[in-house]
Each structure stands twice: as C-alpha cells, then as structure tokens.
C-alpha cells in the first residue's frame, strides 16, 4: 500500500542523523537541508506491506536472543516492510555525482523519512488491531544479535517484491537502499517487547552515540 508523506522532514532528527544534534545550522546549511528535504520528498513514493502470522513461522529460524526476548509472551508476529522506492536511490546516486554535501544531507533526510513512513505503517497496523490484542514495538533485523538474514524470511512472507518493489540481496541487504523491515510481537495481554540494547551490538565500544551518553534508539 502507498503511504502518505509528511510535509517536511523533521529537522531535529535530520540533524541528529548528520551527527549535529542540537546544533543551530548556519544559513548556508539551513538552505542545504531545505533543498535536500524537498528533493527527497519529491522523489519518494513510500510503500509498505504488513502481515500477521502465528509465532510458529519463526520456528527453526535463527533469530538471536535479543529478538527472542522481545517476543517473549507473544503468540503472533506482525512483519512489516517499508520502502521509499527506487527513485530515491536514483536521486541519491545523482546527487553523489553532483554535490556530496547535498547528497549526504539528502541521504540523512531519506533516513528520517523512512522512519516516519515506518511509523505511519505501524500506526495503520495498530489501528487494525482487534480488541484485546496487543503489540510490542518494532524490532528490525540486524539489531542486537538478530541476523540480517531474517530479512529473507520476512520479505518472502510479505512478498515485498510484488507488494512494494522491495527485494533482499544475497547478502540480506534491502534494495532499494532506503527501506526498512520490522517484527512486532502480538499477544492477548499487554506486551512492550525489549529493545535490542547495546549488549550485543558490534559497535558497543566505538559507538558515537554512546560516547555522547545516548543510544541510536534516540
């Protein structure tokens, strides 16, 4: 399904993605970020697909202990996948050949947008939730010790190629680049899930966020 676009790119998140959280940009940077945002919004055609399946679909699947903890107490999983579309990738490639500052700003703007598109789809999923059912937050393959290879199973179950033009490469990366997938657990009782946290993160010793006393989760 097609997802609607926000009017603008959230500036605070954009600056955070550019490693400049809380900074008040100068006039030139402000203009650059405006331009980048407008270009990305013009090129994006966000689409998403989702599907709820019994938890048993993950049986025999290597999902890692973090995702298993996230799904504790759940009896179903909801897979969702969102992409901004191939035209955003094409825009980013063009900008990288033209102006690397604009390209980096647009790349970050697209990352902001993919998160807001995922929020929008999650909103729809929650709106369609039957009374008495509860969902955890989103958990994306690749975080913590959950392997990226879970993307293969997830995208196959959602038929993302047909539903959204989103495919998985042999190395389990999502293509188009500006795409995201997530797993939410479902249960009859309120569940919140558990964030991946930093314990199993590869970057736990070098993470730029942790150095500043925050985490990538915001």
């Amino acid at each position: 399904m097609q997802l609607s676009l926000p009017q603008t790119i959230d500036r605070a998140t954009l600056l955070r993605y550019l490693g400049a959280a809380g900074w008040q940009p100068d006039a030139a940077t402000d203009a650059l970020l405006q331009k980048a945002g407008a270009l990305v919004l013009g090129a994006a055609t966000p689409r998403g697909v989702w599907r709820t399946l019994p938890l048993s679909v993950l049986e025999g699947e290597a999902i890692g202990s973090d995702l298993a903890r996230h799904l504790a107490g759940c009896d179903s999983v909801t897979f969702l996948a969102v992409t901004l579309g191939a035209e955003v990738d094409a825009l980013l490639r063009r900008l990288e050949a033209q102006d690397i500052a604009l390209a980096a700003a647009a790349d970050a703007a697209a990352s902001v947008l993919i998160e807001s598109a995922a929020d929008a789809l999650e909103g729809r999923v929650r709106a369609a939730l039957p009374a008495g059912r509860y969902l955890t937050g989103r958990y994306a393959p690749g975080y913590g010790d959950c392997p990226l290879a879970l993307n293969d199973t997830l995208c196959l179950a959602l038929d993302t190629v047909r539903g959204a033009g989103l495919a998985v490469t042999p190395e389990h990366l999502l293509a188009p680049r500006k795409s995201t997938t997530a797993v939410l657990g479902g249960a009859d009782a309120p569940v919140t899930g558990a964030r991946a946290g930093c314990a199993h993160c590869l970057l736990q010793t070098t993470c730029a966020y942790r150095k500043r006393g925050t985490t990538c989760a915001g």
Partner: protein, 806 residues
C-alpha cells in the same frame, strides 16, 4: 502455428487469458508456508483442475504455474528449476488438451533487484531467464513475461526469451495508480522499449482493477505499432483489508467491457479473479471484434522514467566524448567513470535532454569502456543516451546493457557499415543516426548528401527501422575551411525533412572550429539550423548563449507555451556576456609568507563552504598565472585542514565539513582542467584505489572519502560499489596504487572485505589497506587484516598523508 496463436498475433478476434493462480491455489487448500511454485508436486490434481476450470470457462491461453519458478525461489526446496517448470507445464497442458487452449510459460520477476538498485548483474539476470526459457520452451506455445516493475529486468527476460526459443513472447508490466511502476517506469517507456525489443504482444497486469488500468491501456495502445497486440489482465478491483478484492465476477466483467473499443485484443484477470470472472468476461465480449488501434507515430527515446519525444529542437549534450578533451581522456584511461558521471549530471542540469556517449580513445578498449560508461551513466542520470561509436562490437555491448530506447550514432552510406550496424539497432530497438557520407567521402552539394541519406533511409527501412527512428546528419563542416558548405548543410537538412520524412541531427559546434569567439558562430548556425528544421542539436549545453538560442527559438515557434520554460530559466537574470580581449599572462604573484598574510579568496571560500565562490577564486588565481599545484598546497589543503581540525574538535559539523569539501571540489575541477591542459598527468600526490566491497550497495561514505582525498590532491580511482575482489586486485596491479580504501556498511558484507584484503595479499601486491564503514571497529579492522581503520573521511586523509606523503 496453432490457429489460436495466429489469432492472438493478427488481432482478428478477441482472445481470453485465464485468471489468478495464487488466490485460486489458496482457496483450494494451499497451506501457509507452502510454496505456490511447487504446487505441481504436492497438489498436481488441484493445479490441473484450476487450469481445466479456466479452460472450461473459455480461456484460450492457460498460463502455467511457473511465475515463481526461478533460482532464488526454488533454492533449498529440493526441486530443480527444470523439473519444476516441466511438471507445472504438464499440468497446464493436460487441462489444455480438452479444449485446445494454448499453454504459456509464465515468467515473473526473479525476486532480486538488478544493479544499480540491487546487486544482480544484468547479464546474470539474462542467464537466469535463459535457464527458465530453455526449461520450458519445448512444453509451451508461448512465453508470458508478466508483473514486471523494472524495465531493465523486463529487457533481460525479453532478450533471454528471444534468444533462446522461437515462441512468441508476450510482455507485461504492473503499474501503480500514478501511471508508473514501482521503479518509476512510464507506460510509454515500457511500450517503445518492449516493442523495440521484439515483444509479440504487450500488456498490463496486476496491481490495479480494470477501471484504473483503462487509461494506461489506452496510452499503451497509442504507443505501439498498429499491428502489435495489446492485452490486459487486471486484478478484481482493489484489495480489501482482509486480502480479498472488491469486484465480484459480474462487476469485473462489466468493467472489462470498456477495453473493447480501445484496441486491446486479449483479456484476462489477475489477483482475485477466478474461473467465473473469465466465463462472464467471455460472455460480455460475445459478438465483438477488436477495435483498430490508432498509434501515434512519434520519434521517441527513453529511459524507464524519462520519455523524450523528439518533437521540435532537442538538445544532445556532447561533453562525454574524449575527442579534444584532455581531462576526460585522462579519466577514461585511468578507468575512472566518476568524472563522466559528473559531466552527465552537469549537462542535465544545464538543459540537455539526451546525452551523447563516446569512448573512442586510442589505447583503450572501446567496447568495454562504452559498456561500462552506459552502466555507470544510467545509474546517475535519467536522460536517454546517444551511443556514439562506429564499432559494431562496442555498439552491441552498449545496446545490450542500455535500459530503455537509445539512439545509435552512427551509420553512413557505406553498405558494409549499414550491414553491420542496422541489424543491431533493429535487434535492440534503437533509433539511428545516418551520416550523409560514404566511401567516396562527403558529397559537396546538398543534392549529393540527400542522395546518400535516401540510401540510408531505404536500408534502414529494409532492416525494419521506421522513418520516425531515423535521424539524418547532413554534417557540419568548419566555416573557416569551407565557408560555402554551411549553406549546403542547411539546404540538405531541409530537403531531408521535406523529401524523406525523417528526423535530422547536427553536431553544431564544429562550424566554428579555428575561429575566435566560437559561441557567436555556434549560436548563429544553431539558429539557422533550427529554422531549417533541425531536431537534435549535438552541442555543449553548458554554453549559455546556445541554450538561450534554443529556449528563445521554442518561444518564437510556440513550442514553449506562455514562454513558461523561458521564464523559468531566465526570470531575475540579466545578460552580461560580451567579447573582451584575452588578458596577457600575468606573472605569478609571490605567495604571501606567514608574516605578511594577504587575503586568499580561495582559502576563505573553501573554509566557508562556498561552492561558486571557490570555483571563481580558483579560476581567477589560475588566470593570474598561479601554478595549479601551488593553489592546492597553499590554499586548498590548509583550508581543508582547518575545517577538518574544527570537525575533530566538534566546532565544525558534518554538513559544514562536506560543504567545504564540495567547495574545494569545484575549485579542484578548474585546477585539474588546467593540469590536463598543461599535459601534467595529475596533481601527483599519489594514487589511491577505493571500492565498496562485493555485495554492498551502501556507498555514500566511500563517496565522501573520494571527494575528500581528491581535494587533498590524490589521484583516486573509484571502482564504485559491489566491487569484486578481483577487480580491486586488477586495479591495484594496473595502477601500482600504494593505498587501497575499502568500505562495507553491513555485517554481512564485512566477509567480502576480508576476502578482498586476502586477495590483495595473495596477489603479493605491495599496498596498504584502510577500511571504514558503520560496523567496523579498529579491532575488527585488524582482525580482517587491514593496515588502517579510518573512522571518517578526515581520518582517511590523515592515513593517506602517512602512507603517500603530501
């Protein structure tokens, strides 16, 4: 050929395709987790019964359950592609025999995205499709390629089908409500590309219901030749939240009736339709015959997202041609495609609508380079390309990998040239430029050139290329050498349009060769040629006065309604250009010493990240006689160092660092051009090879590093992304680069980084390796055998300085 197939191809009666397979299988017991494509093994009777029900409902063509029978989907199932295709076709055939229906080998998307969006190479996609076609050709009556959303993948499938069987090939894409596919492909780009590649029927399926597809089907009918059949296979309306579809079979058949009058000749259903939908559809069409299609005859070139109708003057950017361009020669010799890509984007911004691409340079492999240029350029621009070569091998390779409908530049009146190149244009559906010269040279008179043109047009027509795809070049001769020739060229051009009914093209800038202030002559000649009927002007779109002539001409000939494009280009601007004497070379000013700091506009512009100012400052310094290398060492590098230090301290933020890098880059282009003109090979600080490793498509970090390293004066050979270890080894061996930079963003691609380092070591190459990317750490870098871990672009420049000096 079976009668039904004849009917399908000659459009003499309506033919009916079947309905959905997936939804029918689910209805009849397919379990969650069971793969559709294996139905022939675990529920063969059900599968045959579905086909039989469609046949009984009146389907003339049964589409076998081979949609997902491809290597990716069958991996790990225990069934080979060959046995899956054969078993699936057998079920359809068993059902077809009862009614005499035709059986189609169904081919769907491979489930992976082709490069540049994904990592599947075009040739590999062709090979996978060829395997499917070979597995199924003997058991099928036709090949049915459907639900494609990427024109490039459709091309791979069409070529594979055409090259590996003699069956008719039907080709269908799925469009979203906006009239484009997921990848942005337009209906018209699909139409002219598929028709050009020899599809025997074209259609639209899935994604939307009949009412939504109707306007797109009309456009498809108008965009393909009158004799080419068009089919539709819509869904049963739009999906409901529970996964069902909103049209009943009755309502579906009712809505489908609107296709009878527009020229469609085959109809069926996709998701949500069943045998009853087909039965009622057939009933609704009783007594009707297909309407005549009335195609628009138009000259068109395209990429998936850009359909360029050549109607009125169209600008072809000439800058990607190494002849006389030292900087591009250097780049192509080094195997560096980034410079050509930047030229492409710049020309597009300046107003080019098509880009000429030429790789003819002594000492390089033209065929390999042209193919690579086409792949790289179509990743960064959506403008159609003019493939500029006279070498059939180079053209063949470039045509094969081009995504859309290109134009070939060129053939001429020589029979052996026509014989070698026209069949290539026909096979790949390209338009063609014909130069009015032959083995006897260029005819002096207009009449002589028209005679050559006539021969070319006849030969092209015989090869199956229609007039709207033929562009005659009456050849621009240099006015300084043959002054009277300009008139003959224009007279010939007008006569070709009038008498032959073809399009025309000229390389405009050649008129002024050897004369001063060439822009004046080029602009005047361009204007005269446009008035004589020029369609394609091959020119430098970066020359403001020539683009102004084009835009003004469009206003004065009412092609630019309300002068909207002219106003958009020039509102708020004023003209300042006039000829001024060339300044005599000034003596180089002494560099200011530390004790007498003088204003340095280049340093300031880079520090502040001002792109235009940096370029102007560099050009001014060079014009004043300053040595290019002094500029790099005394202004650029100190400015970049200052910004880099600020970044490390946290007083400068990433966007500012990158704006400074972009400003330095624009200054550096002026410097490199000056170096190339002086014959110096480069800034001479040493070579670095960069690559994003095999399997990884996230390369913005690597691209930032490239810009920064180039700004420090290093010669960077950027191999791109998804680069195989062997390609890195080759590049290092060829260039002798002492430093290699590798990037990988994801955990799953770090092993390929390790493999690349291993390959470099195994080849015994004496180079250092620096690595970077989100998931890397200093310890991880050491573990996989890298010499350096580069935290960011600034760190990579520090490492380069340590390894190469500078």
């Amino acid at each position: 050929m079976p009668d039904k197939l004849q009917t399908a191809l000659d459009r003499s009666a309506f033919l009916f395709l079947d309905g959905a397979m997936g939804t029918e299988l689910q209805k009849r017991g397919l379990q969650l987790g069971q793969k559709h494509e294996l139905a022939a093994f675990f529920m063969p009777d059900t599968l045959t019964a579905i086909h039989a029900d469609y046949a009984a409902a009146g389907a003339d063509i049964l589409i076998a359950n081979t949609f997902g029978a491809n290597p990716k989907k069958l991996a790990g199932t225990g069934y080979t592609l060959e046995e899956t295709v054969a078993a699936s076709l057998a079920c359809a055939r068993a059902a077809a025999e009862k009614t005499g229906a035709l059986v189609a080998l169904d081919i769907g998307p491979l489930g992976e995205l082709l490069a540049p969006a994904g990592t599947l190479a075009f040739e590999d996609a062709c090979a996978q499709f060829a395997q499917i076609v070979k597995a199924g050709a003997a058991g099928a009556d036709l090949v049915f390629i459907e639900t494609m959303t990427d024109l490039y993948e459709l091309k791979a499938a069409l070529l594979a089908a055409k090259e590996n069987c003699r069956l008719p090939v039907f080709a269908s894409m799925s469009f979203e409500a906006r009239g484009r596919t997921f990848t942005g492909c337009t209906v018209e780009s699909f139409a002219v590309t598929a028709a050009g590649l020899g599809a025997d029927a074209v259609g639209i399926n899935c994604s939307l219901g009949p009412a939504e597809i109707l306007p797109f089907a009309k456009r498809l009918c108008r965009s393909v030749p009158a004799g080419l059949p068009v089919f539709v296979k819509p869904n049963a309306g739009l999906p409901n939240p529970d996964g069902s579809y909103d049209l009943t079979p009755q309502k579906f058949a009712e809505e489908m009736k609107d296709f009878a009058a527009i020229g469609v000749s085959m109809l069926g259903g996709c998701c949500g339709t069943g045998p009853e939908s087909i039965r009622l559809l057939r009933q609704a069409y009783r007594g009707l015959v297909p309407a005549q299609k009335v195609p628009v005859r138009r000259s068109a070139l395209c990429t998936p997202v850009r359909f360029v109708e050549v109607e009125g003057i169209t600008v072809v950017g000439e800058r990607i041609n190494p002849t006389g361009k030292k900087r591009l020669q250097q780049a192509l010799r080094a195997g560096d495609m980034a410079y050509a890509c930047a030229q492409a984007v710049q020309q597009a911004e300046a107003g080019a609508e098509v880009l000429d691409v030429n790789a003819g340079l002594p000492g390089i492999d033209e065929a390999a380079t042209l193919e690579r240029l086409v792949k790289e350029l179509q990743a960064v621009t959506d403008l159609p390309l003019q493939l500029d070569s006279s070498d059939p091998a180079a053209l063949s390779r470039a045509l094969r990998v081009y995504n859309g409908k290109p134009i070939v530049n060129s053939v001429n009146g020589e029979q052996k040239v026509l014989d070698a190149i026209l069949p290539l244009c026909k096979k790949y559906g390209a338009a063609v430029v014909g130069l009015t010269l032959d083995e006897n040279g260029i005819p002096k008179t207009a009449a002589g050139r028209v005679a050559v043109a006539r021969r070319i047009v006849e030969a092209a027509n015989r090869a199956g290329i229609p007039n709207e795809d033929i562009y005659i070049d009456c050849l621009t001769l240099t006015a300084s050498a043959e002054q009277a020739a300009a008139g003959e060229t224009l007279a010939a051009l007008a006569a070709c349009k009038r008498e032959l009914g073809v399009r025309t093209v000229l390389g405009v800038s050649n008129i002024s060769f050897g004369l001063p202030c060439r822009g004046y002559l080029n602009t005047a000649f361009l204007t005269m040629a446009m008035q004589a009927g020029l369609d394609l002007a091959i020119m430098n779109p970066n020359t403001p006065e020539m683009m102004a002539a084009v835009r003004a001409y469009r206003v004065l000939t009412c092609q630019d309604a309300q002068s909207a494009a002219y106003i958009a280009a020039y509102a708020g601007m004023q003209v300042q250009s006039q000829a001024v004497p060339v300044p005599a070379a000034a003596p180089a000013p002494a560099r200011p010493g530390a004790e007498t700091p003088a204003p340095d506009p280049l340093y300031d512009a880079v520090r502040k990240g001002l792109k235009a100012e940096a370029k102007t400052a560099a050009a001014a310094a060079l014009a004043a006689g300053q040595a290019p290398l002094d500029l790099v060492n005394a202004s650029l590098i100190p400015a970049l160092d200052a910004v880099g230090e600020g970044f490390e301290k946290g007083t400068v933020f990433l966007p500012q660092l990158l704006q400074a890098a972009t400003a330095a880059q624009s200054a550096f282009e002026a410097i490199k051009a000056a170096l190339a003109r002086s014959g110096a090979p480069s800034a001479g600080k040493g070579r670095i090879v960069l690559a994003t490793v095999k399997g990884d498509i996230h390369d913005i970090g690597k691209n930032i590093v490239r810009v920064v390293l180039e700004n420090y004066g290093y010669d960077v050979l950027d191999l791109g992304r998804d680069v195989a270890p062997e390609a890195v080894v080759d590049a290092v061996r060829r260039t002798g680069a002492p430093l290699v930079g590798l990037s990988a963003l994801m955990t799953t691609t770090v092993p390929s980084m390790q493999a690349t380092i291993g390959a470099l070591r195994a080849a015994g190459l004496d180079c250092k390796v620096m690595v970077g990317g989100a998931v890397l750490t200093p310890a991880y870098a050491e573990q996989i055998g890298a010499d350096f871990y580069a935290r960011d672009a600034k760190a990579s420049a520090d490492i380069a300085k340590q390894v190469l000096g500078g």
